[in-house]
Amino acid sequence: MTKHRLFWPVAALLALLLVDLVAKPSFFKIELRDGHLYGSLIDILRLGAPLILVGIGMTLVVATRGIDLSVGSVVAISGALACLHLSGLPDQDAVGGTVAAIGMALGLCLALGAWNGFLVSVLGIQPIIATLILMVAGRGIAQLITDGQIITITSAPFRALGSGYLFLLPVSILIAMAVFVLSTLLVRKSALGLLLEAVGGNPEAGRLSGLRSGRLTWLVYVFAGLCAGVAGLMIAANTPGADANHAGLWIELDAILALTIGGTKLTGGRFSLGGTVIGALLIQTLTTTVYTLGIPDTATLLVKALVVLLVCLVQSPVFRARVRRRRRPPVSPAEPARAVEVSA
């Protein structure tokens, strides 16, 4: 069972929930109030939705041996543009205006994704540097859009994206799940998943099999831009407003952690969208757990670092090999000494 790719991430998530259960049984209480579900678990889903979205986009990029550092900035830009448009409307609650705002924001995010894709697939710039450009400049662009102010909005239909409820559940998690289901169907029902894994797994073999890797690469960056855009809208709707400085800060790093925990390797090839969702939930649960257990929330980062380190080490083949070697009973007196020396 430990062979299954999702074993360790799921085990880590369950272990964390177990800690919560022991420490505070009320963690698992879910109440029905005003026709909505309330509770810590629901909070995890609601607050984890943007990370899930960004993680899904990032996973496809990483599958092609790429990386997208710019998603955090794209999150900020998306929220900024939507809020700017909304704040200029005479009636913010108008559905038409809200849809226009969302459409504009997502359109811009598609263009930003296309820019990243262009740098990587046409100019052939290493993904990490190519997306670093937009990561740095993007936050400036977001501030330019908001003129350095925090734009607050009141639009009810827009706010529903972040804090609304539908069928008892938060709208945000419904959107994230919809994107997850759709993208899973997209990559597994079409041949996209297979071709992406071939591009990332062995680029030269892919080329010789007739793959047009340039187009595929472009596509995943555009998709990552779109996912980041939707996440940006969600964060803005939850605020509610656009904070160009802080919206989406570090979300690219969390997304990379989420997919790493979920078993997708940064070296490309095989990817698991389900793993990324679990990784994202793990990270969100960690934050909520720290809060629930009454550990000062300042320790969140510390706990996160340690848990991630543990999950990464457990998944590292070299680490496992070393642990196994140490556990093995020594064959001769010289044997253990040598093993220690090697790993020192």
Binding site: G201, A205, R207, G210, R270
Partner: protein, 503 residues
């Protein structure tokens, strides 16, 4: 076979990799003041033997005695310190550093811990002048020609005060003048008392420079010969060997090609540095064998016909119409398929399953929006696993976990389902077991009967002769002969390979 004069004696060397015995009881020795050529075809174990000598690989059995002392190197740096220096084929140097640094890095002359650049440069100049090379030693190595890099690598090896110098295919990327210069240097070093291990697939060069030769085949020692006791033809025969297999039925089936329509026609096709201009016709249903030693341009020729590389001269026609093959997709559009000789880096996606690898090319041709249904994929995978007897018969097994022969069959299946009109097989039987080999040979015969043209590349002449209707011989990146396979013998082809002139 102990000889007190030997500087190096390797006895009974055995090296296994998971599933393969790379070296099996190989003996090898070297004398000071002698150039010793290590000969063998691809997969014969030359590289492995060199790597056991230079400490890259440990050995599973046998002894290595250097200068009278038994040694066991744990790494290249230990071997270097003991006086065994290696210049690898791909010249493992640092293009981003200067010529002088590449010679001395790790051993720079220092004063009070500070690198003495003046002394470094001066010593580099002296060393290179000794090799008859005059250049600005502070220039970046990356700006220098391959020939210069080669010399720099040799200079580095010499400065370690090497007793044994290993040159692993040093001439494979050099032009005639550069080769001449390199051989001159090798002779000088020999005359100074160095033991030089020379690996090359150019027969002329080996005969021009070597005093002694050791031939390996399939990880086993064939023999050690003094150069004056052996002829080029003998040498090639020993390298390629004879295979005693019962495959008469296939042999009977071939050689009688009635001649279909011309499918593909190349005129003066060439790519600089890869293959000299050549002309070639391949008919539907015809099996054309490409014979020649490793590095003779076999693979390079094949890649041009598929579009894996693009030609920079000449024309190519399919069904009489001129076509441009710039990418593999072009090749696939004209229903040409190419199974690379390098399964690992150019063929399979190892972390994907057998099924996924089998459908990859067909799926790539359809584009991602037109997926093959899972049922169709399972069907295709099952059919070809059955037809080619891929083991384990598990479509969901990871390709990484399959043996070499089965991996080869997966790659074959990938191209067969695209229903090619020309199938290019580059060394499809190398490194795989005899059973799988026979099956692949049978398959080629069957395909030919069905009207598929096959370009078959193999280092084993027996195999080429058994399967082909026509044999094209390459030598030094040039097509030197094309023969119908009627009463053609291995000896004739060997003579062409060894001597270049059509016998």
């Amino acid at each position: 076979m102990t000889d007190p004069r030997a500087i190096l004696e390797m006895t009974g060397i055995r090296k296994e990799f998971p599933g393969v015995v790379a070296l099996d009881g190989v003996d090898f020795r070297m004398f000071p003041g002698e150039v010793h050529a290590l000969m063998g075809e691809n997969g014969a174990g030359k590289s492995t033997l060199i790597k056991t000598l230079t400490g890259v690989h440990g050995i599973d059995a046998g002894t290595i005695v250097l200068g009278g002392e038994p040694v066991a190197f744990a790494g290249p740096s230990q071997a270097q310190r003991a006086g065994v220096s290696t210049v690898y084929q791909e010249v493992n140097l640092l293009p981003n550093l200067s010529v002088a640094e590449n010679i001395f890095i790790g051993r720079e002359p220092r004063r009070f811990g500070r690198i003495d650049w003046k002394a470094t440069r001066r010593r580099a100049e002296v060393l290179l002048e000794g090799l008859d090379l005059h250049l600005d030693v502070s220039a970046e190595l990356g700006t220098q020609s391959i020939a210069v890099r080669q010399m720099v690598a040799i200079a580095r090896a010499l400065d370690v005060s090497a007793r044994v110098l290993v040159l692993d295919e040093p001439t494979s990327s050099l032009d005639a003048g550069e080769v001449e210069r390199l051989l001159k240097v090798v002779r000088t070093l020999r005359d100074e008392g160095m033991a030089v291990l020379f690996v090359s697939h150019f027969i002329d060069q080996v005969f021009a420079v070597a005093d002694r030769m050791t031939v390996l085949r399939n990880g086993k020692l064939v023999g050690e010969y003094r150069t004056e006791d052996i002829t080029p033809v003998d040498l090639v025969t020993k390298m390629i060997g004879k295979e005693l297999e019962a495959l008469e039925d296939i042999e009977e089936a071939t050689h009688r090609h009635s001649g279909g329509e011309v499918f593909l026609q190349a005129d003066g096709l060439t790519r600089k540095g890869a293959i000299a201009p050549f002309s070639l016709e391949i008919r539907s249903g015809e099996v054309v064998g490409l014979a020649g030693l490793l590095g003779s341009g076999r693979t390079e020729l094949a890649r041009l016909l598929f579009g894996a590389d693009h030609a920079d001269g000449g024309t190519l026609r399919v069904d009489g119409k001129p076509v441009s093959m710039r990418t593999p997709r072009n090749g696939m559009e004209h229903r040409v398929a190419y199974c690379s000789e390098d399964r690992k880096t150019e063929g399979l996606v190892e972390e994907l399953t057998v099924r996924e690898n089998i459908v990859l090319a067909l799926q790539a041709a359809r584009g991602w929006t037109r997926p093959l249904s899972r049922r169709r994929q399972d069907e295709l995978a099952a059919r070809y696993i059955d037809a080619l007897d891929i083991r384990p018969a598990a479509p969901e097994a990871l390709v990484r976990d399959l043996s070499g022969g089965n991996q080869q069959k997966v790659l074959l299946a990938r191209w067969l389902i695209t229903e090619p009109r020309l199938l290019i097989l580059d060394e499809p039987t190398r490194g795989i077991d005899i059973g799988a080999k026979t099956e692949i040979q049978r398959l080629v015969a069957t395909l030919s009967d069905d009207g598929v043209a096959v370009l078959f590349i193999s280092a084993e002449l027996e195999e080429v002769l058994r399967l082909s209707h026509r044999v094209v011989v390459l030598r030094d990146r040039e097509v030197v002969a094309q023969r119908d396979n009627e009463a053609l013998t291995a000896d004739e082809i060997m003579a062409v390979i060894a001597e270049g002139s059509p016998a």
